[in-house]
């Protein structure tokens, strides 16, 4: 897995992991999310379109990230989870907790318009 971060707007980070987020890689993913608030990021959009697999350690990283961003008053949303990842979210019923969008544009619009 590798992770790219883009900033479409100064206060929004788009995190794009690619590959598998599992036992071998989730620690790196978790660290990436943890560092974002200190970099002046308010909202985090996680683009999951290139993630082929995510297990519970990846889900844990997402939950930890969500709680952290929420505490700072920001939003953490997901974009385009593929069927295997969507299944992990559904089996744990975390799909009810995360806001999930189909496109990056929708996600950016959502975090900008909605008060959190």
């Amino acid at each position: 897995m590798n992770v790219k971060i883009e900033y479409p707007q100064p206060h929004i980070a788009v995190v794009r992991p690619k590959g598998r987020i599992d036992a071998a890689t989730s620690a790196k993913f978790r660290d990436t999310l943890r560092r974002l608030p200190s970099q002046g990021v308010e909202h985090v959009i996680i683009d999951l379109r290139d993630v082929s697999f995510m297990d519970s350690s990846g889900l844990s990283a997402l939950v930890a990230g969500l709680k952290l961003i929420r505490r700072k008053g920001g939003a953490l949303v997901l974009v385009g989870p593929q069927p295997p990842v969507r299944m992990a979210l559904q089996l744990t019923m975390l799909d009810r907790v995360f806001r999930i969008y189909n496109s990056l544009r929708d996600a950016v619009a959502a975090v900008n318009s909605r008060p959190y």
Partner: protein, 687 residues
């Protein structure tokens, strides 16, 4: 010199024999073999491993530091000049020859310089070069080198005859036998028959090494009574080689100091010649022995059963991995009617004698199975046939014999000092050890053996193996041991026997972790199929690091995907995908859970098998970590509440996934192992 080959060794010899400078020789050495070489004047340069004291000790010397570890070094010093070649064990002999040749070239040059006015000294030099030409030529035919060199050697003798105005010149080479009681091998060259007689005589009455004997021909009466003087020296060679070099001049003759010096120099050249040939011939001989071993291995391979008996009512698998070209482990399986005869044994020792003994056992066994109906009578018949040979070779053999009555599903078993065997009961997954029931064959004359017998039930397996499987040491010095083997056997018990053998091999390789294997490894297994046998199986043995877990998860997912085309053929590709995603998630969660909790304190092994049944996919995993807290399994997780993000659990989703993703799951603790089982029914499609 008629030598042009693409052989770097010969080219080097050629270079050395044509009197090139020491630095050219050092360069050629490095180019040909990649080993360091130095040539210098004055103090040895840094990098040459020689102490100043050693360097001071001899002003003209050749010396070698043979060492079993590469690199060894050989040195030459002539006055102010130095040559040092580093070499491996295989190039050491050649390095020594080259340094010797370089040294002799200096020696010849020095003699010439001392005797500048005397033009006859040019002749020994050209003779020396001729020597080296013979050497290079005959090295190509190390099998009969002296015969191959015959023409050239006689030419050299004639040349010497002319230089010294000798009546005859002779040289004799002798190789002492390795064992007492055999005659020495002797090759004699001379220009006349009397010369040959003299050569043989002086081999018996050789002067001491370094001495030059000058005497009136003691055998003159045999040559018509013509008075003559013989000059003879022993070739300065070491055992098992001996040799003499001599010539005869007419009448009573005084030899000047210079003449003796020249004569001694030529003797040293014959010695170098003879020693080099011998070294090369010995090398060739050991290569031939290796070749013989390879042939013996082929014989052994052809004797081992190529195809194991097969039948609908039993399963047999075997594996043999010799540690060297010819190992001491062997096995055989023969079916006669409704009986299956199996044996697995270990001959003490290796190599050709072991191979011959194994062949005897195989032949004895194959004839015994037609005249025996239980293990004990097979053992007796085999023993009777091999007893004499075991006695003669003063060796012993451990042997386990298992005879299955396929109709009645009973077995008989005799074990002559061999490692215990295992009977894995399918019901309750219990292990029963089948120990040795007597001493190894060859320990006592026709030892009485006890026979064990039992009733087999469907799914039962009996494993015979050799101790090379369990006596594998890891880097910490611990053996894989019987418990290590049993771990694999139990963890993979439902899988096909050849898959179980794969798992054992992987476990042994993981345990060895790259260390060389010291012993052979043999495995032989029999099973009566259980009513519900998997149609496909895949076994695994791996570590518990996050990387290992991730890799194993992906391997299991790939196998599940490939099997799904057979077992879920009627399902749509979406249904298949959903099945496989869920399966991979459950597998990942189970393995991660084991790695994180069972192996929390220390890393360990994760092993088991994935099994495809017609209706479902099953994963069985064993770990020997800490006991799992089963309460957790039966506690229903709280549903995540979207309105209470702060109260959201950051961990603990793994078990939820397992519960949701598969149709059945189970955990058990037995033999102080955690045993896990996941089951998921193949998607069948909409009917």
């Amino acid at each position: 010199m008629a030598i042009l080959t693409d052989d770097p060794q010969t080219e080097l010899l050629q270079a050395a024999s044509s009197g090139v400078s020491w630095s050219t020789l050092a360069d050629a050495w490095t180019r040909a073999f990649g080993y360091k070489a130095y040539a210098w004047e004055g103090e040895p340069p840094p990098g040459v491993p020689i102490s100043p004291q050693a360097w001071e000790l001899a002003s003209r010397a050749v010396w070698a530091y043979p060492s079993p570890e590469a690199p060894s070094w050989v040195f030459a010093r002539w006055d102010n000049k130095g040559l040092a070649l580093s070499c491996s064990t295989t190039t050491a002999a050649l390095a020594q020859v080259l340094v010797q040749l370089a040294f002799q070239t200096e020696q010849i040059n020095a003699v010439i310089q001392e005797q500048e006015e005397d033009t006859t000294w040019a002749k020994p030099l050209s003779l020396s070069q001729n020597f080296l030409a013979v050497l290079c030529d005959t090295l190509q035919t190390v099998d009969q080198p002296l015969m191959a060199a015959r023409g050239l050697i006689e030419e050299i003798l004639t040349w010497m005859q002319n230089i010294f105005s000798a009546r005859d010149v002779f040289v004799a080479f002798e190789e002492l036998p390795e064992e007492d009681g055999h005659p020495p091998q002797r090759t004699v060259f001379a220009l006349t028959s009397h010369g040959r007689t003299l050569a043989r005589y002086y081999l018996q009455h050789a002067p001491e090494s370094g001495q030059i004997l000058v005497e009136t021909d003691p055998l003159a009466h045999e040559a018509g009574g013509n008075p003559a003087t013989n000059i003879v020296s022993s070739l300065p060679v070491s055992e098992p080689l001996r040799g003499v070099f001599g010539m005869q001049v007419a009448g009573s003759h005084e030899f000047s100091h210079e003449a003796k010096q020249r004569f001694a120099l030529l003797g040293r050249q014959w010695a170098t010649f003879w020693e080099t040939l011998h070294r090369y011939r010995t090398q060739a001989r050991s290569q031939r022995i290796e070749q013989e071993l390879r042939v013996a291995r082929q014989i052994q391979d052809s004797l081992l059963p190529r195809r194991l008996p097969q039948g609908p009512d039993f399963e047999v698998a075997a594996f043999l991995d010799p540690a060297s070209i010819i190992g001491g482990d062997f096995y055989d399986v023969q079916q006669v009617g409704s009986r299956l005869f199996m044996m697995l044994g270990d001959v003490a020792g290796k190599g050709v004698p072991a191979a011959m003994l194994i062949a005897m056992f195989l032949v004895a066994f194959r004839s015994a199975v037609h005249r025996a109906d239980d293990a004990l009578s097979v053992m007796h018949q085999v023993h009777q046939q091999v007893a004499h040979e075991l006695d003669r070779l003063d060796t012993f053999v451990t042997l386990a014999i298992l005879v299955i009555n396929l109709e009645r599903r009973t077995f008989t078993y005799v074990n002559a000092g061999h490692t215990e065997s295992y009977w894995l009961r399918w019901q309750g997954r219990r292990v029963k050890s089948l120990p040795a029931t007597g001493l190894p064959l060859g320990s006592l004359p026709l030892e009485d053996y006890e026979q064990l017998s039992g009733n087999l039930r469907p799914g039962d397996i009996i494993w015979l193996y050799s101790d090379g499987v369990t006596e594998v040491t890891n880097r910490e010095g611990y053996l894989l041991g019987r418990s290590g083997l049993l771990d694999i056997l139990l963890a993979t018990q439902p899988a096909h026997l050849d898959q179980q053998i794969d798992a054992i091999r992987r476990a042994v390789a993981l345990h060895r972790d790259g260390l060389p294997r010291e012993d052979d490894m043999a495995l032989l297994a029999f099973r009566i199929p259980a009513p519900q046998m998997p149609q496909l199986s895949w076994t695994f043995v791996g570590g518990s690091s996050p990387l290992d877990v991730s890799a194993l998860t992906q391997q299991l997912a790939r196998h599940a995907r490939s099997w799904s085309h057979t077992f879920a053929a009627s399902a749509s590709s979406e249904e298949r995908d959903m099945f496989l995603f869920a399966w991979e998630l459950a597998v990942a969660e189970l393995l991660t859970n084991i790695a994180r909790h069972a192996y929390r304190a220390y890393p360990g092994r994760i092993q088991g098998s994935m099994l495809a049944y017609p209706d479902r996919l099953v994963l069985e995993v064993w770990d020997y970590g800490e006991a799992f807290d089963t309460d957790v399994l039966y506690t229903l997780p709280s549903q995540p509440d979207p309105e209470n993000i702060d109260g959201l659990a950051a961990e603990g989703y793994g078990l939820t996934i397992i519960r949701q993703a598969v149709d059945r799951w189970a955990h058990n603790r037995r033999y102080r192992r955690n045993w896990w089982r996941l089951e998921k029914f193949w998607p069948r499609g909409r009917l």
